[in-house]
Symmetry: C2
Subunit: 174 residues, 2 copies
């Protein structure tokens, strides 16, 4: 499947609703437990997605399409949400993510990105030169990957409860 802006937006615009449907009104056992150690709970993942909306995807898109001479991205702090002082509750985070995503997709659509724009490049601080198409593909995959992570983390809460079925449930082995 080749990159298409519209097909990426199809995913990006539904992620907030998917997360609300998946996580709203669940017992905290499902949303606030992790996979052990320093791994992330579903709650922490939503905080991470919010941080991406604020500092990563659209900011980098704007930089790639700007007239700036130095198109090196600011590093993205993948742990920012773990350090935030005043903690919001999960419903607040889900609302915040939805609002930020809507603003960012409105901005993205307003850019009227052309085929040539998609080949424009920026410099990732660790990975080097990347195209706008790669950035927008990454944004899309990042959403899907974190939905997969959230459901895997939730599944693992019952790891000891499934008895001998653990053998058949590959999600518990990832």
């Amino acid at each position: 499947m080749l990159f298409e802006l519209q097909k990426s937006i199809e995913i990006l615009e539904r992620t907030p609703a998917v997360l609300k449907t998946l996580l709203s009104n669940l017992s905290p056992d499902w949303t606030h437990n992790n996979e052990g150690g320093e791994t992330w709970s579903p709650y922490a993942v939503v905080g991470h997605l919010i941080h991406g909306e604020k500092t990563d995807w659209i900011v980098r898109t704007q930089l790639i399409l700007s007239q700036e001479e130095d198109k090196t991205f600011q590093p993205f702090d993948r742990f920012a949400q773990l350090n935030e002082g005043a903690k919001k509750n999960l419903p607040e985070l889900l609302d915040e993510f939805q609002a930020l995503r809507e603003i960012n997709l409105t901005a993205l659509k307003a850019m009227n990105i052309s085929a040539a724009n998609l080949e424009a490049t920026g410099i990732h601080p660790a990975l080097g030169k990347v195209t706008l198409a790669q950035l927008l593909s990454c944004w899309t995959v990042h959403d899907l990957g974190h939905i997969a992570q959230i459901t895997r983390v939730m599944a693992k809460q019952y790891k000891d409860e499934v008895g001998p079925w653990i053998e058949y449930l590959s999600v518990l082995h990832k």
Copy 2:
């Protein structure tokens, strides 16, 4: 996290809505492609979930709680949905899954399952003796695992499009 019937139902009753939010009105490139070879597309996974509603979870629950002498489960055909003749489209499958799940959860709640019931056992044809609590835990994890699978399969459609970011996107390596 220990098994609780109500916490399991929290997950089971939202899965159809999660799948509809995730998959409705998407381009077929997202829903009908797989991970290569004999792997399953999101469309195939929904068919598999339907087959489970028809032949597995509630049927086995009823057998465990029955007065039958032989409580050996019928084997579950994990590939049944791949062999079905008249193919339904994805919106039809999503509706069918939702309707079957609703019927099955209504039946489950009507059983008024007690703590003692949860320790009752049946015989899995390959795994041997299993408890009702393990069966219901497995049903719950099975839902979550297949949502994780669906989003992973979708993410992989952009595997070649993310460029050097592939290194950071663990969902593309599973």
